[in-house]
């Protein structure tokens, strides 16, 4: 964002900010009714037995929490930007874990199952996504060239394809391919069917990304290539694509991250990926939440790693410019 050079008073030094902040958070904490919770027990010497303190207990806890919250906001405003970001992240993460901790989950059960979730579930999720994104890229480049083509036949097929596969829910495509193809005599197993559905769906989205990337190259480049006597494939390979790739690769990385999560949809046809195992592993002992939260954290950790890689790639291409 544009860095403002006008210095103003800190917002947190103004009562017009601090008082509403305090009152609003008190109201929120009051209606959350924390009187009979962990906090209520902490405050027991002041507000009395949490079991019986009722509305007064809620009020006492709410005011205390609101003071802590406001003090926290003020304290955070005095540290440098980087430390602010790190601290707020850690605080939110802590609240998040506290939230899960309050579910009274069986850590022992998670420890027993997590290795299988990673070795089987995460592995399947990753390779299904990786194969699909590779095929989708191949489809996308053909689709993009067809969409930009002056040949009406090629354009019609490509636009029909993108319209159809962008217009249907991915879950429906998974079912259509898994159940529909055998009617034609091509019996596909669950994993290939899932890969096919993901490739076709994401191929359609990526066709548009590739098309936009290719279109962004100035007309003069084509004319210069023609003047040098280059044929279409050579122009594409040597001149257009090398310039278009920096525009294409970052959104493709985003698509890969999105696909990683969408690959959970192929669990409905019995592919043993992360989502499928999250649903089934906890079933016998009725520990669904344990497995769902574990899978959620695995997905999250994975996307964080991928986002870092993504940021690196973007920086690389920015520097090259």
């Amino acid at each position: 964002m544009y860095a403002d050079t006008v210095t103003q008073d800190r917002l947190v030094t103004k009562p017009g900010f601090l008082l509403p902040c305090f009152f609003l958070s008190s109201v929120v904490f009051f209606f959350a009714g924390f009187g009979d919770s962990f906090f209520g027990h902490l405050l027991a010497p002041v507000s009395g037995d949490p079991e019986t303190s009722g509305r007064f207990g809620d009020f006492a806890v709410a005011v205390t929490l609101a003071m802590l919250f406001t003090a926290n906001v003020v304290a955070l405003s005095f540290v440098p930007w980087v430390i602010q970001v790190v601290l707020v992240w850690l605080e939110l993460l802590g609240l998040f874990l506290l939230f899960f901790y309050s579910f009274d989950l069986s850590i022992e059960f998670i420890e027993r199952k997590i290795w299988f979730m990673i070795s089987r579930g995460l592995f399947t999720t990753l390779y299904v996504s990786a194969v699909s994104i590779a095929i989708a890229s191949a489809i996308a480049i053909v689709g993009a060239v067809a969409k930009l083509s002056s040949n009406g036949f090629a354009f019609a097929i490509a636009s029909f394809y993108t319209s159809f596969f962008r217009g249907l829910p991915l879950l429906m495509q998974v079912y259509l391919i898994y159940l529909g193809l055998p009617q034609l005599g091509y019996v596909v197993d669950a994993v290939p069917a899932g890969i096919l559905a993901l490739s076709l769906c994401y191929g359609a989205y990526m066709t548009e990304i590739f098309r936009a990337g290719i279109e962004s190259i100035h007309k003069g480049q084509w004319e210069a290539a023609r003047a040098l006597g280059f044929k279409f494939p050579t122009t594409m390979r040597k001149i257009i694509l090398p310039q278009a790739l920096p525009l294409i690769i970052p959104p493709t990385g985003n698509q890969f991250i999105a696909m990683l999560k969408d690959s959970s949809l192929v669990s409905v046809i019995g592919v043993w990926e992360l989502m499928f195992l999250a649903k089934t592993l906890g079933q016998k002992e009725f520990k669904h939440l344990e497995m769902l939260i574990t899978a959620a954290l695995i997905y999250w950790a994975l996307t964080i790693v991928l986002e870092i890689i993504q940021a690196r790639i973007e920086r690389y291409y920015r520097q090259k410019k």
Binding site: R112, K113, F116, R120, Y178, L179, P182, Q183, L184, G185, V187, D189, A190, V268, I269, G270, W272, F276, L277, K279, T280, L281, Q283, K284, E285, F286, H288, L289
Partner: protein, 276 residues
């Protein structure tokens, strides 16, 4: 033009419903491969589930293993969605379903049922806090059942069991609202939240309800079983030889007490006879 011809040809195939996967060759294929591919659920303890070694285990799984053993071949499990199994037209993806399937008249149009291997009571369950004392107390309430399964058909008063020896039953409950869930396990999770929070009650197999209670779900069985359903193995239509081979195997397993033994092992009760 070749591409257009090809597309037209494909479209014609879809319209005529032509199916290249030949029916009637299941037994040959199974024997040639030496592997019996069994479709079952991985999410339905104690019938079939992933055990602590992360392998398929359970009553249905044991029955399937016994069938493969008697055919003298290996076994392999696949875990497609239940609705994909019951809609038939398997096209040779798997050879047999050992998944406690009730042979309803509708399913018999797309599948064959070579043998009934046990009978299980279907019961209603409510939260421990519920005031309901008998099944009729659930009339007009919000009742959960799994999607496209016999329990949902029962709630819809549309259950036609197409099998010999199926005990008669009556529709005792007319729910106000049927909450249909793809995954029966989620029903238990919803019911345990509290009486009437998301569900006033649910219907499922009595063994599954008992297993939930043993694992600490705060629920109880309500009244006597709603109905007893015969449960069969299922195969795709059209292979007489395979049908008869399986029929013989299941009958033999009934006669020599294998099914009684397996039922005792998993349920503590012998469900293999219809008279209980």
């Amino acid at each position: 033009m070749k591409i257009i011809q090809h597309i037209l040809f494909s479209v014609a195939l879809v319209l005529t419903g032509a199916n290249f996967a030949l029916a009637g060759d299941t037994l040959d294929r199974v024997k040639e491969a030496g592997v019996l591919k069994v479709a079952t659920d991985a999410d339905w303890a104690p019938q079939s589930f992933l055990n602590d070694d992360n392998e398929m285990d359970g009553f249905d799984v044991d029955v399937a293993k016994e069938i493969a053993k008697r055919m003298g071949i290996e076994i392999e499990f696949v875990t497609p969605d239940w609705t994909v199994i019951t809609s038939g037209n398997w096209a040779g993806r798997w050879d047999i379903s050992v998944g406690s399937m009730t042979p309803t008249a509708e399913r018999a149009q797309v599948l064959e049922f070579p043998g009934i291997y046990y009978y299980t009571p279907a019961s209603f369950a409510v939260h421990n806090d519920s005031s309901a004392q008998s099944k009729v107390d659930l009339n007009g309430k919000k009742i959960g059942a799994c999607t496209a399964c016999t329990y949902e058909f029962y709630l819809q008063h549309d259950l036609n069991i197409d099998a010999e020896g199926a005990p008669p039953f009556s529709y005792d409950v007319t729910p106000g609202e049927i909450v249909s869930m793809e995954d029966p396990a989620i029903l238990f999770d919803n019911l345990r939240l509290g009486d009437g929070v998301r569900l006033d009650g649910m219907i499922d197999s009595l063994p599954a309800i008992r297993s939930a209670i043993e694992n600490g779900a705060p629920i109880r069985v309500l009244g006597t079983p709603a109905f007893y359903e015969p449960l069969a193995i299922a195969i795709d239509r059209g292979d007489k030889e395979f049908h008869h081979a399986l029929k013989d195997i299941v009958q033999l397993m009934h006669r020599d007490g294998t099914l009684s033994r397996l039922s005792e092992k998993w349920y503590g009760i012998d469900y293999s006879k219809s008279s209980n």
